[in-house]
């Protein structure tokens, strides 16, 4: 097995045993989308296209949040307690370690995301009677755009957590909450509920996600072991 797979698999296993993160992720990824989906359904007055667009809108901020949630264990905790230092002595490059960890964060976050989407759709159809068709664009959104965004979120946040000191990381946490609210508003602008999802907006979202992923890779490439070790508390 490649070292990438070894690292990713460990993070997935650890995430699956991280009860508090799982519970938080579960509550958040169910409660938040269901509440907003119900709001959307009420506003859209039974318009299935508008509800679909609403769901799409909410998934990406949730994806980013889930990435953050699982990064806190995979990156930040291992840095805070110093485990990262031992990992940096292994015969793998820092880039590989970052990739493996980011991938290992992406998988449980993505599973949670799919669960969240399934519950949202079920809740909306159960409570409002609007049935949401599995149209190709919606499937594409969940199969491609969502995982790209989760990966970008995990990669960016993970790289930042490795590079920053504990204080700066605390600030990052606060900034993140505001960024999260900002993202929701932003996506509602990009994908207005009335018009439903379109190939154009999905293409833009996918492109932005890929750009963020590339940015994460670039930033991770700039982080040095010296930087990480010197910011261990």
């Amino acid at each position: 097995m490649s070292t990438f797979a070894v690292i990713a698999r460990r993070e997935i296993r650890l995430a699956l045993r991280n009860r508090s993160a799982l519970i938080t992720a579960f509550i958040f990824s169910i409660w938040f989308p269901v509440m907003s989906a119900l709001g959307i359904a009420a506003g859209a007055e039974g318009d299935a296209a508008a509800v679909t667009a609403g769901i799409t809108t909410i998934t990406l901020p949730v994806a980013v949040f889930l990435g953050y949630l699982f990064c806190a264990d995979a990156f930040l905790r291992e840095k805070r307690d110093g485990t990262i230092e031992t990992l940096l002595c292994a015969p793998v490059s820092l880039q590989r370690l970052w990739e493996g960890k980011a991938a290992g964060v992406t998988v449980p976050a993505y599973v949670m995301m799919l669960l969240s989407a399934a519950v949202s759709v079920a809740a909306i159809s159960g409570l409002t009677g609007v049935s949401i068709a599995a149209e190709p664009l919606l499937i594409l959104h969940f199969v491609a755009v969502v995982p790209i965004w989760i990966g970008a979120s995990a990669g960016l946040i993970g790289a930042a957590q490795l590079a920053l000191g504990m204080r700066e990381n605390q600030i990052l946490g606060f900034v993140f909450i505001f960024g999260f609210i900002f993202l929701i508003v932003l996506f509602q602008q990009i994908v207005p509920a009335e018009s439903g999802i379109s190939a154009a907006t999905e293409a833009v979202l996918a492109a932005v996600g890929l750009a963020l992923l590339a940015l994460a890779r670039f930033i991770a490439g700039k982080v040095t072991k010296e930087r990480i070790v010197r910011t261990i508390p």
Binding site: M1, T3, V6, I7, R10, R13, L14, R17, N18, D81, G82, T83, E85, T86, L87, L88, C89, A90, P91, V92, S93, K225, E226, V229, R230
Partner: protein, 310 residues
């Protein structure tokens, strides 16, 4: 470079304008147990971080097995390390943690090796328990197993007995000695435990205020005390013996403490004459010991009384 397991030449490093290491040089031969001694904050951890390629040297050159570990990912597979953090995940089992490192280091036949090591550190019956349920001593033992899992040629231990009770400290010490023999590893031991270093190390370097104050074999350091001395145990009080012995030409100093007599000799070969003189004067001798200085005395001399103590 390359004949030695570890080579440090003219190493300097500062943090935020503060000099931590100043022109540090020493070498560690293959198969040695090397003690790197110094008070807290002396720069021991910084030195091994530089050796392992985690921090860049400010000046000078370092090599482990002839390689620069910062630049050489593969060479790091031949080196092991145990920092004060054991590098273990609490939510994973003992065996799971070792299996992860086995994957990272590409260990062949990992299952067999993991069982062997768990038995060696006496954790075989806890192999499937999460490490989070382990005591500090158990975690340290597992950390040691983790550090040597891939059969490294050189292993760095950073204060391996810190935070442990005396029983666990002893166990860790014995384990390191046994492992270095069994697995033929070079051991680089950071410590401020003088007793520990004196017991298990063949060579030591003493680091204080960023400089190497002494670097030699433990035998040489403790022997090179200047004047030879002997301690005699008598079958009775020694006060009067001092009067007898004090007049001998080769005895420069004599102290009696109960039935113990400590004499400093002008000539290291004079011990038999001293014994003969005492026996001739009617004293009965139970034990004669050539005294050497303890590492602690040497350490305090170099580090200074103010910061001394272990």
């Amino acid at each position: 470079m390359g004949v030695n397991a570890v080579e440090v030449r003219g190493l300097s490093r500062s943090f935020d304008g503060r000099d931590i290491l100043r022109d540090v040089s020493f070498t560690v031969g293959h198969g040695e147990i090397f003690g790197y001694l110094g008070p807290n904050g002396a720069g021991k951890t910084t030195t091994i971080r530089i050796l392992l390629g985690l921090l860049a040297p400010g000046a000078g050159e370092v090599r482990v097995l002839g390689r620069d570990l910062a630049a050489d990912d593969d060479a790091r597979a031949r080196v092991g390390v145990l920092f004060e953090n054991n590098g273990l995940a609490d939510r994973m089992s003992a065996a799971g943690n070792l299996a992860y490192y086995a994957g990272l280091y590409g260990v062949e036949d990992p299952a067999e090796r993991i069982d062997e090591l768990l038995a060696l550190v006496d954790l075989a019956d806890r192999r499937d328990d999460p490490v989070g349920t382990f005591s500090t001593g158990m975690k340290r033992k597992l950390g040691i197993a983790r550090a040597i899992l891939h059969r490294p040629e050189v292993v760095f231990f950073d204060e391996p007995s810190s935070g442990l009770d005396p029983g666990a400290q002893r166990m860790v010490r014995d384990l390191i000695v046994e492992l270095s023999r069994r697995e033929e590893m070079t051991v680089f031991l950071n410590s401020h435990h003088l007793d520990e270093v004196q017991r298990i190390c063949s060579t030591v370097a003493i680091l204080a205020e960023g400089r190497i104050r002494a670097f030699d074999s433990v035998a040489n350091l403790t022997r090179a005390s200047g004047r030879p001395a002997v301690t005699l145990s008598l079958a009775g009080p020694g006060d009067r013996a001092c009067e007898v012995v004090g007049n001998l030409p080769y005895v420069t100093e004599c102290d009696a403490d109960g039935d113990h007599l400590r004499c400093t000799l002008a000539d290291p070969g004079a011990t038999p004459d001293l014994v003969a003189a005492l026996v001739g004067a009617g004293f009965r001798i139970e034990e004669v010991r050539r005294s050497s200085r303890s590492l602690e005395e040497i350490y305090l001399e170099h580090v200074g009384q103010a910061e001394g103590g272990a």
